[in-house]
Symmetry: C2
Subunit: 449 residues, 2 copies
């Protein structure tokens, strides 16, 4: 029960059925081993968002390395009657053998830019679509959403409180990781602390306060357990009465050579209450006790509070960040762009794609990112190429500590124009290289012709 | 890799830190073994929603039965320096030993009604909060969201296509299960097919079509593999041209004694295209080939299409159902309501709770649910009591096939007033029993006094 098996679901069957039925056809038609390149990107950013932060690559690479079909999986597939022996044999010996090029985690990314490109035998590249999308989508979504709180909090402490309402425990882990990558300081998720080395943090619940004969008794009991690490939740009955009781405990702690870390406000008009609570703490001489705020917050609440001058030193940000409440998905897709060296596109209404493997070049003016150029992989571009080879022959060739990705995310955010970082962001320019426009027109011409 | 370990993450550390620090204090204060009752409920329904369907109970019970802290978990906790030997010993022998009363899965549930009540030693009831909330939240959310598509589709085929953008693979499984419980017919998620016995379904991707020299060649190849089970994706280049090519393949299949199952539209004005495609199929004599629609659909798109008379026989519903896009969380909470037989409440602004363990009675007029009564567990009520004991002494006493819960969900939906089932729903009445109102006032009086 303990040893963190199942950090991800481990069955090759965690896949859309059509990946397998198409595979059956590819094997039957002897088309399974052609070399295909798929490009993973999103078409648009949610309203107000200026950028996304690429994330989820580590999980995606681990998925590719570990993907297998076990005998139980194969027995189930055989029972469905949908698959012939040739395809089932292909699955029995399945090892992903392809190459992956990707944006390192923490890289700022914009619509139409590949987060990742997979080149592999068609049947392999197709089967991995579902979960490569899934892994990259969730963490990119949450890192990007969390980055907005990081921008808004402007250096104040941020703690991930999302686990109770994330879409599963696995999502809770991904949220802790992705929000830390984006700049959060700590998480309430203890397993994420153990797995990823993220600092864990927490305060106390209303039930704790209610389970004592009075609020003061509850505060004293918690301070006995954590004399230098207590943040007392003061809103169970009345936030300012609670703050005064916290001051009593702070005095008792100080008398014994300890110190109260702070108080937590979790309901009511937190901006206003924070000012009143701050005044109570300050008057009593506890200027360094923090006012910590929580309770259904997102980046806009944080920005509004700080704009109103609320003296809040830290924020617990939960559900709205963890499910990316106002934008719970990105329109990520995984599109075939090349088959045996032939560029491919799709013309569907409103869903057309750009052909061929690609590169993204970031052009800087000084330290500041000025614009990106999206072009064919084979082209030469000005600026810094952002897609790197991260896997070859099915083995990851890129690995880095989470802290490295977190540092990159910070540098990337800081390099963006202010307008792009704002909560109501200005768009960032992504130019199409002339060579890509020509290629698109040529391929479209051929498809129509 | 195959044998479906880790259908859920298995570590006791998948928990909010404060559950453990509160536990440390409870053990230190000798308060850990007092009997506590917590009630899990939501305060409001998302805009437009008339009801929720309770779900996730099976996973929650399994979590409670299996929760353990392994030696690696304990070693990590010890390293944090936050915990004493007494508490770590309590965790080492941790087995959830409590009682759970709950709404069976598929029961229609309304704001303030407990989905579940846990009675256990305080330290146990507190530690399980995070993941019991998480398990019940996700499936209740998705089952309720999916039920809206079921209402809108009014008997047409519904297939879960969400896996690629659910918040993790575990969420994808939960979505397949919860949407099936709510009335979906099939899922693209093969592992959900294997684990839950749900019918799997799928069509083909644009990449498949693009990987052949022409659309007709692609359709023919797929029909060779699945001569009686092909739904051909017709929108890669031009939806109506594609439909005409599908008709060619339908003729070839018919000549060989087989039949085309249908076509899929995935872009453009699907309502309008479906009429044109239907006409092409009908003219050619393929009245029983289905027009299947997909592409970013939710219940409102389905309702709008059917209202416009679109001849669509089935819908693939993905991301917007799977992340519950317009309402990606419910405000579920888990609140202390009783401690050693003493009813407890919380008075926080806008977050007050009702004291004591509860029961919900559903009062019917004929087959139709008329209103619910929320009262103290110990009271006698008119109508059908909905909360049942599902676990005692840490062992589940309630288990049922998914199909039973699915049948219940259908009966429950059908028993609700039409207005409550509508996509812009009228509210359903939940009355507070007089005895609960009296209890609340007494306990509030005491807390203030």
């Amino acid at each position: 029960m303990s040893d963190v098996p199942g950090r991800r679901l481990r069955s090759g069957l965690l896949v859309d059925l059509y990946q397998l039925t198409m595979g059956e056809s590819y094997v039957a038609e002897d088309l399974a081993e052609r070399s295909a390149t798929f490009s993973l990107f999103f078409r648009t950013l949610p309203a107000g968002w200026g950028y996304a932060l690429a994330a989820g690559l580590e999980n995606a690479l681990r998925y590719l390395e570990e993907l297998r079909f076990g005998e139980d999986d194969l027995a189930y597939l055989e029972e469905t009657g949908l698959f012939g022996e040739g395809f089932l044999e292909r699955l029995r010996s399945f090892r992903f053998s392809g190459t992956v090029r990707a944006l390192p985690e923490g890289t700022a990314v914009f619509p139409s830019e590949p987060l990742l490109e997979v080149t592999a035998p068609m049947v392999e590249a197709q089967i991995v679509e579902t979960m490569v999308l899934n892994e990259v989508h969730l963490q990119t979504l949450v890192a990007s959403k969390a980055a907005r709180s990081v921008e808004a909090a402007n250096g104040r402490l941020l703690v991930d409180f999302a686990l109770r309402r994330t879409h599963g425990g696995e999502a809770g882990l991904a949220v802790a990781r992705a929000s830390h990558l984006a700049g959060f300081d700590a998480t309430s998720n203890v397993l994420a602390g153990r797995l990823y080395g993220i600092r864990t943090a927490g305060t106390m619940a209303h039930s704790y306060v209610e389970s004592f004969d009075g609020e003061l008794e509850a505060f004293r009991a918690f301070a006995r357990a954590y004399p230098d690490d207590s943040i007392l939740l003061v809103d169970t009955y009345d936030s300012l009465e609670g703050t005064r009781r916290a001051v009593e405990v702070a005095r008792e702690l100080a008398a014994a050579g300890h110190r109260l870390r702070g108080i937590r406000l979790d309901s009511g008009d937190v901006a206003e209450l924070s000012r009143a609570a701050r005044a109570i703490l300050d008057e009593a001489g506890f200027e360094d006790a923090m006012v910590f705020a929580s309770g259904g917050l997102d980046e806009r609440d944080i920005a509004a509070m700080l704009e109103a001058g609320a003296p809040v030193g830290g924020f617990g940000v939960g559900t709205r960040m963890g499910v990316s409440a106002d934008a719970p998905f990105l329109d990520v897709v995984y599109k075939l762009v090349d088959l045996d060296g032939r560029p491919v596109l799709k013309l569907s209404e409103g869903k057309a794609t750009l052909p061929g493997p690609k590169q993204v070049w970031r052009v800087r003016e000084g330290a500041r990112a000025a614009y990106d150029v999206l072009g064919p992989e084979s082209a030469e571009g000005d600026g810094e190429p952002l897609l790197h080879e991260v896997m070859r022959g099915g083995r990851a060739t890129w690995t880095e500590p989470l802290q490295t990705a977190r540092d990159r995310a910070r540098r990337e955010r800081e390099s963006l124009p202010d307008g792009v970082r704002s909560l109501d962001a200005a768009p960032y320019e992504v130019r199409l290289a002339d060579s890509l426009v020509r290629l698109r027109d040529e391929v479209a011409e051929r498809a129509h012709g």
